[in-house]
């Protein structure tokens, strides 16, 4: 009884909202799948980076090019790992949203919104970290320029 009362007075996800959410989930699924493929390509690029760098910078010596190759491989794989998680959250959101709309399952709907929240939280924190690093670089560059100007 209580459940039906709350349903009556709560905000409802009406037909048009359902349609928008369904389309959102479909696009989200597409973006996530393409994102996963991109991540795989980045990992592949990382795996082959060693041989590519060994071929292009052999004039600096084998140890240098091998180190550069390993460094590039680690960088590419880390970058792919960082990119992987938002796509995972997005795929989970999309799958759960489509299932929730199909079965009218409130728990799945909540879970799908939770995954989308995780996706935005991840991207938001990552962007803020990148902006902070950028700001630090600008501050240090400005400081360096000031020191260099003072020495002249």
């Amino acid at each position: 009884m209580e459940s039906s009362n709350t349903n009556l007075f709560e905000l409802q996800i009406d037909q048009s909202s359902q349609m928008y959410l369904r389309e959102t989930a479909k696009w989200g699924k597409f973006i996530a799948i393409v994102g996963f493929i991109m991540c795989c390509l980045i990992v592949l690029a990382g795996v082959f980076a060693g041989s590519i760098f060994a071929a292009t910078s052999s004039q600096f010596g084998t140890a240098y090019s091998a180190g550069l190759g390993v460094g590039a491989a680690v960088f590419y794989i880390c970058f792919a790992l960082v990119c992987f998680f938002p796509y995972l959250f997005l795929l989970r959101f999309s799958n759960q949203m489509l299932a929730a709309l199909r079965t009218n399952d409130q728990q799945l709907l909540n879970s799908s919104f939770r995954n989308q929240r995780a996706c935005y939280k991840y991207v938001g924190i990552l962007t803020i970290i990148l902006l902070a690093i950028y700001a630090l670089i600008l501050v240090f560059a400005g400081f360096g320029a000031m020191v260099a100007a003072g020495r002249r």
Binding site: T6, E10, I13
Partner: protein, 147 residues
């Protein structure tokens, strides 16, 4: 239990207290992400205009024009995209405050537009990448034949 299940099916999906909390934090983070994106676009535009001016190697006119055009393209794509996200966050938060279903619908409409824009952009990028690969292979083929 069965009754509750049938009432859920009868009334469809609703915005329960838990959903409300999820949507509230989701909208807040969506807003933060959009604002952070706007800030990064602003910074990239500023850097494109005045970047490397105090460096040892002065950028040439062509490289500066290139970086400005790149930043402007990023701005032209990023601003409408993140405006959709910001509108989604605004409308959803407003609907949760006022229990207005029109605002909620508007929020989901903007979210759909955001994802659609992103998806179409991705398709365009994939087509461009495909074209680059095809032309590179053609170039290599013609180069190989000319030897």
């Amino acid at each position: 239990m069965e009754n509750q299940q049938s009432s859920e099916n009868l009334f469809g999906l609703s915005i329960s207290e838990e959903t409300k909390q999820e949507l509230k934090t989701l909208s807040t983070w969506a807003r933060i992400t959009a604002i952070a994106a706007f800030v990064s676009y602003g910074i990239s535009l500023i850097v494109a205009f005045i970047g490397r001016q105090y460096g040892e190697i002065e950028p040439t006119g062509a490289s500066r024009v290139g970086s400005i055009i790149g930043a402007l393209i990023m701005l032209a794509i990023g601003i409408p995209l993140n405006l959709y996200l910001l509108n989604f966050a605004k409308s959803t938060l407003a609907s949760l405050h006022s229990a207005d279903s029109n605002n909620l619908e508007d929020g989901f409409y903007n979210l759909r537009k955001y994802f659609k824009f992103l998806g179409i952009l991705l398709i365009i990028v994939l087509i461009c990448l495909g074209l680059v690969v095809v032309f590179a292979m053609l170039g290599a083929l013609i180069g190989g034949l000319n030897r």
